[in-house]
Amino acid sequence: MTETEKQIKVTGKERPKIGVYVCHCGINIAGVVDVYKLKDYALSLPDVVLAREYKFMCSDNGQSLIKDDIEAGLINRVVVAACSPRMHEPTFRITCKEAGLNPFLFEQANIREHATWVNMNDSEGAYEIAQDHIRMAVAKARMLLPLEVQRVSVEPSCLIIGAGIAGMNSALDLAKEGYKVYLVEKTPTIGGHMAQLDKTFPTMDCSACIITPRMVDVAREKNIELLTYSEVVDVAGYVGNFEVTIKKKPHYVDQEACTGCGACVESCPVSVGNEFELGMAPRKAIYIPFPQAVPGQYTIDMENCIQCGICARPDVCEPDAIRYDDKPEFLKVKVGTIIIATGWDPYDPTPLKQYGYGRYPNVITAFQMERLLSSYGPVLGKPVRPSDLKAPHSIAFLQCVGSRNFREGGNNYCSRVCCMYATKQARQYKEKHPESDVYIFYMDIRAFGRGYEEFYESAAENYGINYIRGRIAEVSEDKDHNIIIRAEDTLMQTPIEVKVEMFILSVGLEAVANAADIASLLSVQRSADGFFMEAHPKLRPVDTLTDGIFIAGVAQGPKDIPDTVAQAKGAASSAAVLMSQGEVEIEPYYSVVLDHLCSGCRSCQSLCPFGAIDFDEFRKVAIVNPALCKGCGTCVSACPSGAMVQNHFADFQLNSMINVAIKQSSVENGGK
């Protein structure tokens, strides 16, 4: 008896009867290789009892070909040679299941991405590669074993990281559906960047007026546990059963005792730049970020506090709420799903020295301009320039600062909101100072959203804002701190020099500074641009590749507010789907310990990144917890005695593929 026959004897009841189905995929495959020849080739492989080709195997008709063959008892294993298993493996598994075959007796050969697409102009080469893939898939199919999917229950609760407009919307939706939500925010207040904006384009809604009611709703909602000034420090577990550790940073103020009178703020001697005002106004070391902050809790910023003790004096803090020895608290919660809504950081234009930010006082970023324009900002909505605190008679915006930049120090992508916010700010300034000159230097104006093009047209037509197509080469400063811009007007094909009194950089959006830490904490991927990566760019825009974890808002990539809210609601809906089902299927790819081979060395236990391996002290063997095991295979490759077997990727299954991959298998006639 050969090794393979022995294996079949041991594991299967009957000899494999494999059906191979070659898909044309329209002309994606059939246009490059001869699918009829491939079908004949498949028939020559061992244990292949029938082979068919069809235009689209994934279509209803294609699937019923497979179903009919299984139901007629012709085959008991299925190989489909088509596209990537990422696309249609689930489709064909369901087909098998519906026809009464264990879905794990299916194998897919990817002859589209791996063969015909990458070798479009080399049909012979592509044919050879397609043959290899089919041969390997058939070899594995002979070795497949039936497996059972596992079901685990899903905790009806959700962790949302970030309480900006995205996190708040997801939280409200889930809470109203009846799920418990833990909303974690690292700053002392919810609201995010949207709370800093003055007005929103293109409708000119007052941003604060539309976001503060939402903030109040969040605070009032019973099902939302608001954890501000907190950070997620550890995430363990798996879909449906995450165990999350949250660190509540010390406020150094007893929130129960504090009456919010604000006497401490008045008496605090330390003044530092207020983050909420982007450094353009001071705050004290004891502070609330802004008047409408939710929750309206006072916090001592210990990095700047000198612990002078004034605020703790009984004549200052009558309720005696100051706690200099406050310690962080750690909270453990169990959640079924997680939504990442960590938002963004503005691009820091300091490295682009040609634009003078940080060198010339009258060069500011558009987010600073937003605060200057804000009616509750540092100058109550009457913008002045930093050097002399006078209203500038001329201002210029530069677009795409740090965006669409393929040189050092910039991001390649378009930040999507800058064209519109610059247009909006230009209009606002023009409304306040109709006599002023306003310029916008741009590469392209991308006015893609609803009402955006009209908004832009009106800015140019009715407001007399000067749009100049061309990037600015450099700026310099004259004696009065005016900014001299040197640029090329690429429409007029002429170099131009313009002097303005204030220069505003329309900086782009970047992934948050600690995105890498969050990604490793949650085991989710990021794209090359630094933002969190969705599972599929078209069809799964709010899922990550880690089950049970979703993304919302700018955390996934730059977006405007309507898109952010839409995606936040989408993420909430996806999380709710999982939680409403109550349980979830887990693929049975976990590792199994062969007790009689395990020597109890515990190598696997120390290496397992998911803590899925326990040790039976009595029998001295390793035990795998299937629910925690992610099927990474680390333990299998580490095991010195070959006692670890990973379901569906067992050594004998992979070896059978390798054997036929490196040499043409001797053509046994498997019952042709």
Partner: protein, 316 residues
């Protein structure tokens, strides 16, 4: 004074310094000796060849000749150093290409084999300023300064090849507003004045001076206007070709653009090691700042006397 070891370099002269500004070469030799660095002669060195001219016509020829020059220092087992931005541009760009493109290295070595040479890639081409700033460092240089020229206002001119292309230069990707040369200048107590379009070309580069002298002079005119407007006493540069353009170019601008200029330009142009040497207390004769008989009729075209007069008090 802290000791620095192993400051040994093959000195690549280039064309402009030995032919037109021997005082630049003299001052580099004097200052390096003073700082305890050893300069080896590169016998048989050719033209670098010039990046604007040769490379523009035929890149492989440019690369092979540049590689040959680098092998001269490789034989001596020392880094190659040059005081010229153009030579630096060629040697460093060629070195960078050869380090990153094995195919080019193979091609170059096929040609070099014909003259019995081989490019190994064992050394790094450096600029005199790079050696001062990075190999020695500001703190090291500080220890040698004897005289401080506190009321000297300097217009620093970097030139182009020393900072660009930034990915092939050792300044950490900095290309808009480098400060390394200003920092060296300010060691001498002089003040580096920020002037308009400080990083503008001198006018000579890219064979512009060779092809259309009036255009080159127009560049210089604008640059000189900005320098004069900022109230600078002298110009400090680190490239013999920029030196030529800013020095002789003043006379050319004065005559071609007479009507635009008004008062003719007379701004002394001084090479960085000349200024540094003076601050270190090296004899001005050795730095080529005082004209002796042999140099009669040779540049500089704009007298440096106003500069010497300005620093005289601090020297004595």
């Amino acid at each position: 004074m802290n000791e620095k070891k192993d400051l040994k370099y093959g000195f690549f002269l280039g064309c402009v310094a030995p032919n037109r500004y021997p005082m630049i070469e003299a001052s580099i030799r004097a200052v390096f000796e003073h700082l305890g660095a050893e300069l080896y002669e590169l016998e048989g060195a050719s033209c670098c060849p010039a990046p604007g001219v040769f490379r523009a016509f035929h890149i492989p020829t440019w690369l092979v000749i540049a590689a040959r020059n680098i092998t001269l220092a490789e034989e001596l087992g020392v880094d190659i150093v040059t005081g010229c931005n153009g030579c630096y541009g060629t040697l460093r760009d060629a070195w960078y290409e050869l380090e990153h493109e094995p195919e080019l290295k193979k091609m170059v070595n096929e040609h070099l084999a014909k003259v019995g040479r081989k490019y190994k890639g064992s050394i790094e081409p450096k600029h005199v300023v790079q050696v001062l700033y990075q190999d020695m460092g500001i703190d090291y240089l500080k220890g040698f300064v004897k005289h401080k020229f506190s009321d000297l206002k300097v217009a620093v001119h970097y030139g182009c090849h020393i900072v660009k292309p930034s990915d092939k230069r050792p300044w950490g990707g900095e290309y808009e507003c480098p400060t390394f040369l200003d920092e060296i200048v300010e060691l001498t107590g002089a003040k580096s004045i920020d002037y308009k379009d400080k990083f503008m070309c001198c006018g000579a580069g890219g064979a512009v001076r060779t092809a259309v002298k009036e255009v080159a002079a127009d560049f210089s005119r604008e640059k000189l206007k900005n320098i004069r407007d900022a109230g600078c006493d002298i110009i400090i540069d680190c490239c013999p070709f920029c030196h030529l353009q800013l020095d002789l170019g003043q006379m050319e601008a004065n005559s071609v653009y007479k009507d635009m200029i008004g008062e003719p330009y007379k701004i002394p142009v001084v090479y960085i090691t000349q200024l540094l040497g003076l601050a270190f207390g090296i004899d001005p004769n050795r730095l080529g700042l005082v004209k002796n008989h042999n140099l009669t009729g040779v540049s500089p075209f704009i007298p440096v006397e106003p500069f010497l007069k300005k620093v005289k008090e601090q020297l004595t």
